[in-house]
Assembly symmetry: C2
Homo-oligomer: 330 residues x 2
């Protein structure tokens, strides 16, 4: 069982793999994803993944057989264990608990060669519905307080397999970065009686310099204080505190794919990370938090200054990044 | 002039290079430090750096000429501008100020081939004194609230030059990560009337499993909730809120070099980041914060889960890391 440990000085939680600890010789010889070799996520290889949790099959196929459009399986090497109790305990001054959580992989498309920016838009819509279905199911388990959906695209962004996939981790605690956003947006709401995200959308829409694109329901912007070049945030235009696809799902799929196509065009297929931030289960409907997608192309290195300060140095102003993205022909 | 911008949702500050913004084509073709080429930090090339701020010359040499043991120069490509006023202003909902700060480079040794783990211990002592001298000088400038000393060793840790060097950045705000540590340690002090770091040292000394080494004045430990494999923290055993070398400087140089030798031996010269955390100028002497050095070998990738949550996944338990370090023959 992995352990969740809290650093008492920073308040930060860490997942420690106490069982199969990596030895010094396991580092350094980092193996890149094999190009063109065997792929467990391809159609026909269903038996090589753990048994599927959910799949969208247009025909009447059996589970773990070909014929699917989308497939969700447990991560073969999960960061957290789905079985077990939390057992919060102290170790002298320190706090820890069992590393309980769910870690699942969403294979968005059977075709090995497609990515979120090139696959049929129907697959992206299905993917968004699938996130929602898994969230609805996992929140019934009262050990879990939050689900983080994230994607690592490309080796440098931490992807260990080439076939396009997204991951989700159900956590027994609300992550620190989400807590910070909740705290700040709540403070703002108490002072202004308005959602800070709604206010940002209004200001960005009127000044236009950081708007990348928009449709009837969603807007993509380069955040004012982007951590890294070409960081992008996609938000629903109307206040929605929690991620939940509805009849605007096509427009969400559309702006997401358009944004990724722009990134791929401007930066020539860069590695990137994508994360969904949403309200915790316990307070899913509120007036102050506004769910959104964050996309971070991996273009700069995190070095001593960032590790020591929590500051980021961004060499590309978001106004220029937004202009490059708007000008991209996709 | 770079800009300091605050993200209103996370509270995080970012340095944006608004003047010479990097264009998309500047990324991707990342140039590695040239091995064996011209080096501006080597003896004889003093005229190719900006004029020196401080140097230790055992003879009576002129500034910016050979004959030095240690040299401090302004960073040729500073993240912040040393001239100018802060000018805190709003931009609608957002907050920003001029990117004012000092960015200096400490060249610890004239020999291109030595590192902190191989150079004479006298150079490390000199380096520690030099940090202190620069801090004492820069704190007279009331635009600055904090100085972060950090080192990027190796290409993957963000070093852009091969010749061993440390950097310091004087900042007009206390960095968020330091603020968080100050907040937590203050809370602990209010509750317990003891320094949390002193308590950690006591617990680690008695359990021993995470102690890497110690001498009369300092201890090196693998933190209970290490963010990454082989993370190491060096602390003074007696309570000291601010970094200030004194008659124990030899023991600090000794444990620092010993720790880096252990890391180099166990992990075969890994890239790493090193940071000094100390109390802000305004409250340099206090009972709750305890200065320390953090060393983070760069062995894992920061991916979507970490970016989205602030959690870290560490595949090597600190107890095992400490054992490997203790067993290393250095």
């Amino acid at each position: 069982m992995p352990e969740l440990r809290k650093d008492p000085i920073s308040g930060r939680w860490v997942i420690i793999s106490v069982e199969r600890g990596k030895r010094p010789s396991d580092f350094g010889m980092r193996v890149s994803p094999k190009k063109g070799g065997f792929c467990a996520f391809c159609e026909g290889n269903e038996h090589t993944t753990p048994p599927e949790i959910l799949a969208f099959r247009p025909g009447s196929g059996q589970p773990n057989t070909p014929g699917w459009n989308l497939r969700i399986v447990p991560n073969k090497f999960p960061a957290l264990n789905v079985e077990g109790k939390l057992d919060r305990i102290g170790e002298g001054i320190f706090d820890k608990m069992n590393g309980v959580g769910a870690h699942e992989v969403i294979i968005e498309c059977p075709d090995h060669h497609l990515t979120l920016s090139t696959m049929p838009i129907k697959n992206i819509e299905d993917t968004l519905w699938a996130f929602h279905q898994r969230m609805e199911d996992l929140k019934k388990d009262d050990r879990f307080k939050y689900i983080l959906v994230f994607k690592n695209e490309g080796d440098d962004a931490g992807a260990s397999l080439e076939h396009s996939h997204t991951q989700l981790i159900a956590l027994p605690i609300v992550p620190q970065l989400v807590e910070e956003e909740l705290y700040q947006s709540k403070q703002y709401y108490e002072y202004k009686e308005r959602c800070i995200f709604c206010d940002i959308i209004q200001q960005e829409t009127s000044s236009k310099t950081r708007v990348i694109s928009e449709n009837d329901d969603f807007i993509a912007i380069a955040p004012f204080a982007s951590r890294s070049p070409f960081e992008t945030m996609i938000l629903p235009k109307k206040h929605e505190s929690s991620f939940a696809p509805n009849d605007s799902v096509h427009n969400l799929a559309q702006i997401l794919q358009r944004t990724l196509k722009q990134i791929d065009t401007v930066l020539e297929l860069p590695p990137y990370n994508l994360m969904i931030h949403t309200s915790p289960f316990k307070n899913a409907n509120n007036d102050y938090y506004h769910w959104h997608i964050e996309i971070l192309p991996k273009l700069t290195k995190i070095a001593g200054f960032e590790w020591g300060s929590g500051f980021y140095i961004n060499p590309t102003p978001p106004e220029e990044a937004a202009q490059f993205m708007r000008d991209a022909e996709v």
